[in-house]
Symmetry: C2
Subunit: 144 residues, 2 copies
DNA sequence: TATTGTTATACTCTATAACTATA
DNA sequence: TATAGTTATAGAGTATAACAATA
């Protein structure tokens, strides 16, 4: 039996990611943020121990690019950078009150967005999607 | 039974799309192209009848953004734009020989990439992934 | 010397607003 | 007036290379 014609899966993935990430960006913008700001805040909150390079790698950007975002966020009063007391090469990134508040707002926005995104999808379908996306990552050589 | 902790599906989708599209971009770059150039060539070849606005919408960008890419591609000798003979408001986009040749090279690269991307995935899994991605698009309000 | 992070610079993709040409 | 497309301008995100500070 012939399989039905279907666009390449990479194209479908790309266009889906484009519309989804735009919608997510808009949701974050309404809450006063953006995708890189959200990913940065999330990393700082989640992996407090990691240095900036590890945070950058976790987000999927270069160290210098993270510095660029941190500069902007520090200028906006969302965080402060201090030298680490024992290893003074590394910096400690700490959220200010404004940064913590923004984190909470963006977290709420992200939770609401994910709920919207998962509408009509069962737990098993989400697990399937997760597993299939992991296979794609593995197939392009992503170690994670 | 508790469901296992899993990052939000939007985050997983975003990071997967990032690594996959970077790998695809590299594959296209090796063949002498880029993602927007490839999408533009593909649209011009596939929907010859559509005007630029429809092509732009198909790619998911604004008309002015498409003009920007067409300018670059025309400067590189990949295509020419002519006034349509009967409706002179619209432009006919035609690939030059160089444009046709690049299309073939990028097509080969895209086919090879998709093969790599689908490694170890059965036809049913691809169909599942396709269906699940369509659901996500629908959930963020995408009409297609 | 090696590591961590920053600065300087620039590129790509995208967008909006104002404009021209055509209908 | 409405439509198709272009030009001008700008902004966000990213990258590389060179640098400073620390170990």
């Amino acid at each position: 039996m012939m399989s039905p014609e279907r666009p390449p899966i990479g194209l479908t993935l790309g266009s889906t990611a484009k519309v989804v990430s735009r919608a997510f960006d808009e949701a974050l913008a309404v809450a006063g943020g953006s995708l890189p700001v959200w990913l940065t805040l999330l990393s700082v909150k989640t992996r407090k121990l990691a240095n900036q390079r590890k945070i950058a790698a976790g987000i999927g950007i270069q160290g210098a690019t993270l510095t660029h975002h941190l500069n902007g966020m520090e200028a906006e009063g969302l965080l402060v950078r201090r030298r680490h007391p024992t290893n003074r090469r590394t910096h400690q990134v700490e959220l200010t009150e404004a940064g913590e508040a923004l984190f909470v707002r963006l977290l709420e926005a992200a939770i609401a967005f994910d709920k919207r995104l998962r509408a009509g999808l069962g737990e098993g379908e989400i697990a399937d999607l997760d597993r299939l996306l992991a296979k794609l990552r593995a197939n392009v050589g992503e170690p994670g």
